[in-house]
Symmetry: C2
Subunit: 120 residues, 2 copies
């Protein structure tokens, strides 16, 4: 599977998924799959969250809590899961509030290795 | 149950829990329960994470993703769950990497109402 196919697989197999993407910490998307009927500005959402993720990474390193692996943010409208791939990149899955958050995080973790291999 | 008793209940009923606390966004702890044998500097960890949480709150509001409800951060050494209580306060549960993350997040959510009531 290509990166795009893997992202597509995740989006199609998680109930409530709106988008899946690979991003760099500077907010630049490497690849992405979006569900067209989304009411959210997913692009700005992911860019804003990339900035936040960089802050979390900094805090985690500062308090010597090891290396960041996964971050999830649940709001009254969305569920977002981030899975760290390497020093530069991470995968993001954006879901609706009632999306299958557990399965989404599971599939991101499961597919992290595939995504990394396909990025090499 | 007092706030402290509720925090104690959470820590004692989640495998791998290291500390539970109620904090303000400025990093000031309102109340806390720590497991004494922890190897981490939980105080600085929670203060750093409070700063990050404030950043996430800002980002969530900026992208109109509703109101922040829960944030979780998994690293190679720790699992930390944050549950928003109101505009000013949130509950934090810090666990070891192999702690019961699902149960920890569940108990935080379950006890959020009790904690809010006891803070009033």
């Amino acid at each position: 599977m290509s990166i795009r196919e893997t992202l597509k697989y995740v989006v199609e197999n998680v109930e409530g998924a709106l988008a899946a993407m690979i991003m760099a910490y500077d907010g630049i998307p490497i690849d992405e799959i979006m569900v067209s009927q989304s009411e959210y500005d997913l692009q700005s959402l992911s860019v804003e969250y990339a900035t936040v993720l960089k802050e979390i990474k900094r805090a985690v390193e500062l308090v010597k809590a090891g290396a960041m692996e996964e971050v999830s943010i649940a709001t009254t409208r969305t569920r977002v899961a981030f899975r760290v791939l390497n020093e530069d990149l991470f995968a993001v899955l954006i879901m609706t509030r009632d999306g299958n958050f557990g399965k989404g995080r599971y599939l991101l973790r499961l597919k992290a290795y595939d995504m990394l291999r396909d990025l090499a």
